[in-house]
Amino acid sequence: MTAICIDDLTHAYGERQALCGVTFEIRRGEIFGVLGPNGGGKTTLFRVLSTLLPIQSGRVTVLGFDVAANSADIRRRIGVTFQAPSLDRRLTVRENLVHQGHLYGLSGRTLAARIDDRLARLGLSDRQHALVNSLSGGLQRRAEIAKGMLHDPELLLLDEPSTGLDPGARHDLWRYLLQLRDESGVTVVVTTHLMEEAEKCDRLGLLDRGKLVALGTPAELRAEIGGDCLTILADEPARLSQLIVGRFGIEPKLFGQSLRIEKARGHELLRDLVEAFPNEITSVSLGKPSLEDVFIAKTGHRFWDEDGAGVK
């Protein structure tokens, strides 16, 4: 079953192309992560899915409804958690939730019970009468999440939900998201730039410069680049790179002071390298590929390389 279907979606802010021809599907009941660096197009995609932006080109359906034509049907069924809290800072947490409930057609005892439940789940019960202004950033985010969950949405959209949360709160948030998926079958879509958060998703889409560069479970993505990952630090990485090409016929990728090689049976290469160039190598590490390695392999540049000029 498909929760979200995105077909050839393109979006531009004036001259700047934010999304170009993005196509993929999100299944019902999965936690889907949209991973990418800042400026990669995550937030634009999030805004299109939450019915805030008009569709410029392409077609998007959410829970079977066309975003361009049936936004009202979609809005009732989705919960949205923004990166910058959409709370009224001059109201208390509870007043914010009452307000939110009213916007979604809830009132009276049903609403009061829902609010009590969400407050308890997110550990906000004792702060419910505090003005949002007086809460810490982490507590504000929790209130924001409670707000997005209030009307029992079938689909939850979260834009960078971990921003401003301490590790404990982050852990609790994910436990809650997993619980939602398992017990209520809620589809969760998270945008993130954190690798450790991406690891927790059922499936991932990698967005870079407005393009979808990879799609799959974290394990599938790692398997695609295969084998092991060697990261070599050297004083003269360019020279060492040439030496490796000459001796082993492998072309390492150069990133600043480090070289990177992806290869099956990496431990054997590691041994050979250290024997061959004991003086040139400062340090070398061997690991299974991380999602960051997947990103590098797919885009040819580093995740945090905002201008994308890191590749030689």
Partner: protein, 288 residues
């Protein structure tokens, strides 16, 4: 569709229309009363204006033809100050749209299943109620100043019906001005921009409505006045407030009550439609 489901959907759409209006209105009121300085400023400033200008311009004021010769400037200015209170209240409650947008609150409302018209009406009802509360306070406190020598006796003898008519008309003016402020604030991304529009557009509109000084009956200024929708708001209020002016002859600066009512209704309809239309568009401004 069976009647059962249509009942249910009517019930549901009521919940999705009236409840949001109610909650958005309530929010405006809550926010206002939590900001004490706003309460003080909203009432203090017009009172001070009324007393100071009244004292300062008493000597140079010449009552317009339609007014009784003994009318003082403060009496003349009274409906004008009331409209100013309503105008400022409308401005301050709609300027919050810009803050709501910047703080992210508005996005939360825009992704909710709220008909755009309900969002507009909620905001406008809240702003109008605040304007009326402030105006009502002035209407009570203003005349009391005569007992401390800061104001002349206004000679009010309004019946209950007269009061109702006046408050009703003031509501219409407040609704129109709030919708005007809303339409201006909707497309702006900074409160500074709003202040600029306020000084070059809203303040002159108020100054040239006959609130502050009698506009000459001929010349280009009189045409600005005739075309200014607020002129009809001020004049209508003037006629409804003072029994002496209720039957005064019709002139450019004091149109008949029916023309005042008609023009203000049109003004209200145009601004509310504009506010609704602007809000209805799904555009990049939603995410600024």
């Amino acid at each position: 569709m069976t009647s059962g489901t249509s009942d249910k959907s009517t019930h549901e759409s009521a919940a999705f229309f009236w409840l949001p209006i109610w909650t958005l209105t309530l929010r405006e009121l809550l926010r206002f009363f939590r900001q004490r300085t706003r309460v003080v400023g909203a009432l203090g400033q017009p009172l001070i204006f009324w007393v100071l200008f009244g004292a300062g311009l008493r000597g140079s004021f010449q009552a317009p033809e339609w007014a009784p010769a003994e009318m003082t400037y403060q009496e003349y200015f009274f409906p004008g100050v009331t409209v100013m209170i309503v105008l400022f209240a409308a401005i301050f409650s709609t300027i919050s749209i810009i803050e709501d947008r910047r703080e992210g609150f508005l996005q939360g409302v825009l992704v909710a299943p709220v008909p755009r018209l309900a969002l507009v009406l909620g905001k406008l009802t809240g702003g109008t109620l605040l304007a009326l509360i402030q105006a009502a306070l002035f209407l009570v406190i203003g005349p009391l100043l005569q007992f401390v020598g800061l104001a002349p006796s206004l000679g009010w003898q309004l019946s209950a019906g007269g009061w109702l008519a006046m408050i009703g008309f003031l509501t219409l003016v407040a609704f129109a001005l709030t919708a005007l402020g809303y339409s201006m604030a909707w497309s702006l991304d900074s409160t500074q921009g709003f202040h600029a529009l306020m000084s070059v557009f809203l303040m002159p509109m108020w100054l040239l409505s006959g609130s502050f000084f009698p506009v000459p009956e001929s010349g280009w200024l009189s045409w600005v006045m005739r075309l200014n929708p607020l002129t009809y708001g001020v004049a209508g209020l003037r006629r409804l407030m003072s029994p002496l002016l209720a039957d005064a002859p019709v002139s450019a600066s004091l149109p008949s009550l029916m023309s005042c009512l008609g023009a203000t209704c049109v003004f209200c309809l145009v601004t509310v439609t504009l506010a609704g239309w602007l809000t209805h568009r799904r555009s990049v401004i939603n995410v600024r």
